[in-house]
């Protein structure tokens, strides 16, 4: 321990400028970030000119803080560089475990401790009781370690100076761009189900292995091979992995006994038509098929995650798309308009466009059940919503003190997937708090399905503007065709949390389907 403290003290003396920069960035972040949820700054999703600076400052600092950490980590590791054969410390009685321990202590004191303070301060400022979120805080630190600190630490151990570290970072970014470009060209979805769940622990293991190898034995090329080989291997595995088998495992097909939890029908009328447009390149075309979703049982919601399209033509041509991700579609009970979009090879499209085809759509769904609903009369100021967060009315930016929206903040993570309903008023609300008898239904989804107690980020507070439908009304006036609707004090806001029940795969077949000519 004596040697750990001794090296730590030396590093603290040597790297005080980097420490000051990092602490200053975190302090500035703590000061500016709460303006995210300060009610007077956020008005109807638009920001007043006076608040732009705060928003910009917070965004810049959100970038600056990790950059200052990058500097801090790199400099402290390079203080006893593990690359090269001329370093003074190599032939001094350093014990590698104590050297590594000193570096870890340095990060605990100058990175983790201030970060914990930042997170606690932000929680308190947002109105949350920090002691209720200790497990989440620890989990958020774990995420930070896995996704940021460990990779930075690992790369620092295989580079000799900051310039090389920066070059490596540029190289990594270019590789990521190349991988994304390659996957786009291949037309495959790189996001294999649960790959995140596997890749994060694997990333940690690889980083720990590389760091340990370097500190214990300075096996530079083996460490570099590990750090380069892992992402390459992951990408190659992603390309060659049996996507269908994984889908079958994670999203089993439903049996006849289980019944169909959702059905689709082709929407064909003057408004809804099959659309064909340009693909991501000349050899592909993009197809959009309008559908009507129905048959979802009361109290449930179906959330599609992936779709795969198969085409069978009368001339014997068969084509199946890779699994493609679907975003933002959520089907509640009752008929609901939707569409499925996919890309296909232009040559196949040209050979089947003139004839009727059978269109098979295979969806993977997460089925969710409505949980507890919380009904809150719209107050004039901040109000807590249990298991959700703290919400604030958003005022009309014209200065009329009318409420035109709701912004919410939650601790450590976005809220669990929640359906929010409200009644809009076309007219401005009176001075007395009255619940309107008539109003326009507004609804929207917010949150996500993650089970984790925290999400990756510097801040411990997540802010969300509730995006409720029908927030604007048509006026028919020229120049100002739409005006905002209002949420009057007292009008009920309903928050219904949805919980996942099962993951399934479901097919829909559209016979006699015609592409537009």
């Amino acid at each position: 321990m004596k040697q750990i403290i001794h090296i730590f003290a030396k590093d603290s003396r040597h790297f005080w400028p980097e420490i000051v920069v990092s602490l200053a960035a975190m302090a500035a972040f703590t000061w500016t970030y709460p303006h995210h949820w300060t009610r007077n700054n956020l008005r109807g999703g638009l920001y007043l000119s006076t608040s732009i600076d705060w928003e910009l400052s917070a965004s810049i600092l959100t970038l600056l803080v990790p950059v200052s950490w990058w500097l801090l980590i790199t400099r402290v590791v390079h203080g006893e560089s593990l690359v090269g054969d001329r370093q003074f410390w190599l032939t001094r009685p350093y014990e590698w475990k104590k050297l590594l321990g000193a570096k870890v202590l340095f990060l605990l004191v100058y990175l983790y401790l201030p970060l914990v303070i930042v997170k606690l301060v932000l929680l308190v400022q947002a109105g949350f009781h920090p002691l209720s979120y200790i497990p989440g805080l620890l989990f958020s630190l774990l995420l930070l370690t896995a996704l940021l600190v460990m990779p930075l630490l690992a790369v620092a151990t295989v580079t000799s100076n900051f310039a090389r570290m920066a070059l490596t970072a540029v190289g990594i970014i270019l590789c990521l761009v190349a991988i994304l470009a390659l996957s786009a060209v291949r037309g495959t979805s790189v996001s294999i189900p649960y790959s995140d769940r596997l890749s994060i622990p694997l990333t940690v293991c690889v980083c720990v292995a590389a760091i340990t190898l370097q500190y214990a034995a300075r096996r530079l090329w083996l460490s570099r091979l590990l750090l380069i080989g892992f992402p390459v291997a992951t990408f190659v595995l992603g390309l060659v992995s049996p996507g269908q088998a994984m889908m079958e495992r994670d999203y089993p097909s439903i049996t006849a006994k289980q019944g169909t939890p959702i059905q689709f029908a082709l929407l064909e009328d003057s408004i809804h038509q099959v659309m064909v447009g340009a693909g991501r390149n000349e050899k592909e075309v993009g197809v959009s098929v309008p559908l009507e979703a129905y048959g979802v049982a009361d109290g449930y919601m179906m959330m599609p995650t992936h779709v795969r399209v198969s085409i069978e033509a009368a001339n014997g041509i068969r084509w199946t798309s890779p699994w493609q991700e679907m975003y933002n579609a959520r089907y509640l009970p009752g008929p609901q308009e939707s569409s499925v979009n996919f890309e296909m090879k232009r040559s196949i499209f040209e050979s089947v466009r003139a004839m009727p085809v059978i269109l098979h759509l295979t969806f993977t769904f997460t089925q969710l059940r409505a949980g507890r609903s919380r009904r809150v009369p719209m107050p004039a100021s901040d109000f807590p919503v249990a298991d959700f967060g703290i919400c604030s009315p958003q005022l009309d930016w014209g200065g009329s003190q009318q409420i035109i929206g709701v912004a919410c903040r939650s601790a450590l993570r976005q809220p669990r997937l929640t359906y929010v309903e409200a009644l809009w008023s076309d007219d401005t609300c009176g001075s007395t708090a009255t619940e309107p008898n008539n109003g326009v239904q507004g609804a929207g989804w917010t949150g996500n399905l993650d089970d984790d107690p925290a999400e990756f980020g510097i801040s411990s507070v997540w802010t969300t503007g509730l995006d409720l439908s029908n927030s604007l009304r048509d006026t028919g006036e020229k120049g100002r065709p739409q005006k905002p609707r209002y949420l009057c004090p007292g009008t009920p806001l309903t928050f219904t949390q949805y919980d996942p029940v099962r993951q399934i795969q479901s097919d829909s077949t559209i016979r006699d389907f015609h592409f537009p000519r």
Binding site: G84, D85, F88
Partner: protein
């Protein structure tokens, strides 16, 4: 005799290039061993293998009876290392460097540290990056000698230093010599001739010989044979003759295996018409020049190498 350093078949290759080939030496405890050779001969590679900075491709080395590949951490309490191209913590002052090094060594001798600071005239408050090359070396020496290591390994310690600094460093080093083993590399023979007890000569990664300085000095003689009648060099020249040359009445060569009276008798028998056979001892520099110019390794294929 205890061995401070022992290597057997030590080899280091970079791809197909051998920086060091099949090197076997023994450095007894208490010796001042000078490893000499031209730039690029493999001296630094050898030292870095000993210090576990590099890992050998084959063969092995033991340093203070520890496998060099195991050298780490507390082993360096007993080993001091100074190199001409070592990257020092330039941001530290001399005092900070000494303060920083002190707690690492249980046997750090504060009085010796003070003595070295005075003896080497070290400016304690100046940062290493602001020191001259000579001063930096002095600071490195002080931070190494102050813990009284059992073995001091020096890589070209006097390279590029002015004579005054060089003498100061040698003096400081020799003060420690009775209690330690010193292994140093140099391409400047004049530096080491006055104090080395053992010498090894590396050429292109191969050890040409490794032996005690006194034995080497005794073994090498410049022989001059003066003749009454002009005579050619014999057809079969002994392998131990380096740079043989003959003018009308004089034959000269360097005998690398001079055995005193025995050799004198052999020469007299070989050249019965010789008017005079004289031999003179050679400086280390002259010996190395003779070896280098002769272009013969005269080395054995393995094991301890000596010029036959």
């Amino acid at each position: 005799m205890n061995k401070a350093i022992y290597t057997q078949g030590l080899t280091k290759k970079y791809s197909r290039t051998a920086a060091l080939s099949d090197l076997s030496i023994t450095v007894p405890e208490g010796a001042i061993y000078a490893l000499v050779g031209a730039n690029g001969a493999g001296k630094t590679t050898m030292i870095k293998l000993l210090m576990n900075i590099f890992r050998p491709t084959s063969g092995h080395a033991r340093v203070l009876d520890i496998d060099s590949r195991e050298l780490a951490g507390k082993h360096f309490n007993r080993i001091g290392y100074v190199s001409e191209n070592q990257e020092m913590p330039e941001w530290m002052t001399v005092a900070t460097l000494l303060d920083y090094c002190r707690p690492f060594y249980p046997k750090w001798d504060g009085a010796l540290e003070q003595q070295l600071v005075r003896q080497l005239d070290l400016p304690l408050k100046r940062k290493l990056k602001h020191l001259s090359r000579g001063m930096r070396m002095k600071a490195a020496f002080a931070s190494t000698l102050a813990y009284r290591p059992s073995l001091i390994i020096l890589d070209e310690p006097f390279s590029g230093l002015d004579p005054l600094v060089r003498d100061e460093l040698i003096e400081g080093l020799l003060d420690r010599a009775p209690e330690t083993t010193i292994f140093l590399s140099s391409h400047d023979l004049g530096d080491i001739e006055s104090f080395a007890s053992h010498v090894g000569f590396l050429e292109q990664g191969r050890l040409l010989f490794s032996e005690e300085m006194s034995v080497l000095s005794d073994r090498f003689r410049e022989v001059t044979i003066t003749l009454d009648h002009p005579l050619q060099l014999p057809e079969k020249i002994p392998a131990t003759w380096l740079q043989p040359e003959a003018s009308e009445f004089v034959i000269r060569f360097v005998d690398s295996n001079y055995q005193g009276d025995a050799t004198a008798r052999e020469l007299a028998a070989m050249f019965p018409a010789a008017r005079d056979i004289s031999q003179t001892s050679m400086s280390l520099r002259a010996i190395f020049l003779a070896i280098a110019k002769s272009g013969r390794g005269q080395s054995q294929s393995a094991g301890e190498r000596t010029v036959a």
